[in-house]
């Protein structure tokens, strides 16, 4: 298991796309938070601005980049046929899959911490530039931490799962974006409040509920999205173990 994990970490860190996509996410987080804090803030600053607006709001916007990296971690193997090296180096296919899960989990955690820190820093600098003062902030540390981590990890997990199921890079990216935007968007119109049971809507509800129609309690939203992930990953695992390598 350890060799497979080391190899997956090196895979993630030795491709340009990891740095380009992460860099883009960081730049966006910095730029947007600085701009809003410096030029769009009206005093007094809301007491939940830091938690809800800066940390969770930014993560809601840029976590799609984690999903892309997670998806590429899987689909690059099929696109470039390196999957046969991965499978013949490990003692079981489950090890290979687990190693990938651990790696995108580690990356999702680092990404969450990095984006949160740079977003807060950009906001503070922006406030200073705009000559605003940060009022006392109410921060639910535990809630903010687990919800942020769960949301970012959840997006990465959905993306990797689609990668394992589809195995074709372009197909997986298309499936992922169509899944989020088109399919769930249309289903939300049909299902109305029942749309809270859809995978991406429920995951979004864990972090922040902008749509009052589909809002549920955070715990319930985590349970629904978690169920989708468990079922989806079980199917992906069975297929990964049983199907031909590529």
């Amino acid at each position: 298991m350890v060799p497979a994990l080391k190899s997956e970490i090196r895979k993630l860190l030795t491709v340009r796309s990891t740095y380009v996509i992460t860099g883009l996410a960081v730049l966006l987080a910095i730029g947007v938070n600085f701009y809003i804090a410096a030029f769009k803030t009206t005093d007094p600053v809301a007491s939940d601005a830091l938690q809800k607006g800066v940390v969770m709001g930014t993560l809601n916007g840029v976590s799609i980049f984690v999903a892309i990296i997670s998806l590429l971690l899987v689909t690059h193997e099929y696109r470039y046929n390196t999957i046969y090296y991965s499978l013949t180096s490990a003692r079981s296919r489950t090890q290979v899959m687990l190693a990938k899960v651990l790696v995108f989990t580690l990356y999702a955690v680092k990404f969450t911490v990095l984006i949160s820190l740079v977003s807060v820093a950009a906001m503070l600098i922006g406030l200073k530039v705009g000559d605003h003062h940060l009022t006392a902030q109410h921060i639910d540390w535990w809630g903010m931490t687990w919800r942020s981590l769960y949301y970012v990890w959840g997006l990465a997990a959905f993306a990797a799962m689609i990668g394992f199921l589809v195995r074709n890079q372009v197909g997986a990216i298309v499936a992922y974006f169509i899944g989020i935007n088109t399919v769930e968007g249309l289903l939300t119109m049909v299902l109305k409040e029942k749309a809270a049971y859809l995978p991406f809507t429920s995951l979004g509800n864990v972090l922040t509920s902008y749509n009052p129609t589909t809002a549920t309690s955070i715990g319930k939203a985590a349970l629904i999205s978690g169920t989708w992930l468990i079922v989806g990953w079980l199917i992906a695992w069975v297929l990964f173990v049983r199907r031909d390598a590529n």
Binding site: S7, T88, S89, R243, A245
Partner: protein, 301 residues
């Protein structure tokens, strides 16, 4: 030893590999031959557990997955361009070294062996097919495995590269390892392989040594030339041996040089030339697989 036992693979209704069993011995190069679409690549994938199907392949009595570090047991090259195009050649091998539990220091050693040290820091996306093959060979030998399984490793190599590969494979086997290699270059195979496994339409046609394969070919025989060609033909025909006109004499099948020599001596026929004619591997291969070719050219251009 590698033992493939009852390998079978079915794609919908088509049987791609049909109950295939053979052995690959250590200390030898075993060539894997078959016409296009015979199931060579599928067989290799089955051996490595990449594709699902019936049968099993044992490496020293255990399936590849049964070994602690499979990459240190079997080194594989199934496709030349199996790498991320922008990950450097060195990093590509480091990724594989990590996965195989192989020390990272080995990476530079294999890059030196295959002659890619100067381009180790470059992305292999722009490598020629020959350079890609070399990188694939570097990946295969990374774990100093006892077994090498190579699918068409000479594709894209220049003559110098082919000569290098031939010698490398022979040397690797001479160290007590086993090399199982498929190739369409029959002349190359004839020069480097000790044994051959020949398949057609997924079935085993022959499992033998190159020497026996060639010796058993109908294309081989005894070439004989005499001062009197007409009489020579009569004598040979009377002896009821299979003959064919060849150059200025005849090729006699199914007889040794001793037998033909004695026959002509008894007929008091002067002999100018009497020699054993070996069939080429290509002739022997084509003869064996004549009924097994799935994709044949239609006719003359």
């Amino acid at each position: 030893m590698i033992e493939a036992q009852g390998l079978t693979k079915k794609y919908k209704k088509k049987l791609a590999v049909d109950d295939l069993s053979f052995k690959v011995e250590t200390g030898k190069v075993t060539g894997f031959l078959g016409p296009n679409g015979a199931g060579k690549s599928t067989t290799m994938r089955l051996m490595l557990g990449l594709d699902g199907g019936a049968g099993k392949t044992l490496f020293d009595g255990k399936p590849l997955y049964g070994h602690v570090h499979p990459a240190q047991v079997a080194g594989i090259l199934l496709e030349a361009k199996a790498f991320h195009p922008t990950r450097t050649a060195r990093n590509h091998l480091r990724v594989l070294a990590d996965a195989g539990g192989i020390p990272i220091s080995r990476v530079d050693e294999v890059l030196e062996i295959v002659g890619l040290k100067d381009v180790a820091g470059k992305g292999p996306g722009k490598f020629s097919l020959g350079m890609s093959q070399r990188l694939g060979i570097a990946a295969a030998i990374l774990g100093e495995p006892k077994y090498l399984i190579l699918d068409e490793p000479a594709n894209g190599l220049d003559p110098e590269g082919i000569a290098w590969l031939r010698q490398f494979i022979k040397d690797y086997a001479d160290k007590g390892n086993a090399v199982f290699v498929s190739s369409h270059l029959l002349s190359e195979m004839a020069q480097m392989a000790d044994d051959v496994v020949v398949i057609g339409r997924g079935k085993l046609i022959a499992e033998t040594s190159i020497k026996d394969l060639v010796a058993g070919s109908a294309h081989g025989g005894v070439y004989v030339r005499s001062t009197n060609e007409v009489k020579l033909r009569e004598v040979l025909k009377q002896s009821q041996v299979k003959i064919a006109k060849f150059a200025e004499g005849y090729k006699v099948s199914g007889k040794t040089t001793d037998e033909v020599g004695q026959m002509l001596f008894a007929a008091k026929l002067p002999v100018l030339e009497l020699s054993r004619q070996e069939a080429s591997l290509e002739e022997a291969f084509l003869e064996l697989t004549a009924d097994s070719e799935e994709y044949k050219a239609g006719g003359k251009a």
